[in-house]
Assembly symmetry: C2
Homo-oligomer: 124 residues x 2
């Protein structure tokens, strides 16, 4: 059975998350073996939160889960790519569709991802 | 000037690479500050090779460089997203368009990225 190489990154692999409908890259998170297995078993994205040192069911509280449509592995098996349906449209806690909402240009920063909600109204 | 937070990952940040034309996620590599600055200055993707412990100009030898069209940063500034034009079409040394050419399913592995060249003919 093909699996990520968790040993290489001290138990963690990066997981890139891509929106199935738009193709937009939504975020990057990390998985340990338990998060990977939970994702495979439930069909919803689970990660390992490095800041909270715990398993993290993305959207488990808000209902804004990520329904996993495809799980892919790169050539050296040290990175995962999830293709998902993002419930609620916004992957980012800042309210943008994608966490990659800032573009760095020679003349400064431009914004490049749609704002779905105002975090001050939701979390404030 | 907005920059990646290199300190957080001991001097490195992961860089996701996405094909501008197809939207396909091509690969994940790592950047140190020098690689990021070289990428900004030259418009061609530069990474830090962890295995060779050196700056890596992707395609510098083969000519299969990545022309950078957009440099994006995520909400906590610890991951870069490059949107590129991949010269030569294949990002992966295995000959596939994307390094993420294997999909893990309940019934086994399926292939999900176009094969562009045969690595045995190119490197063999």
């Amino acid at each position: 059975m093909l699996k990520p190489d968790f040993a290489k990154g001290n138990g963690l692999v990066p997981a890139i998350v891509q929106d199935q409908a738009s193709g937009e890259v939504l975020m990057l998170a990390y998985m340990n073996e338990q998060a990977f297995e939970q994702t495979m078993q439930t069909g919803q994205a689970h990660y390992y939160s490095r800041s909270r040192d715990t398993l993290w069911h993305k959207g488990g509280t808000s209902g804004h889960v990520q329904m996993v449509k495809s799980i892919r592995l790169d050539c050296d098996a040290d990175t995962v790519l999830l293709i998902v349906e993002q419930v609620g449209q916004a992957a980012c806690h800042k309210g943008y569709r994608s966490c990659f909402y800032r573009q760095i240009t020679d003349s400064g920063v431009t914004y490049c991802s749609e704002k779905i909600f105002d975090p001050q109204e939701v979390y404030g």
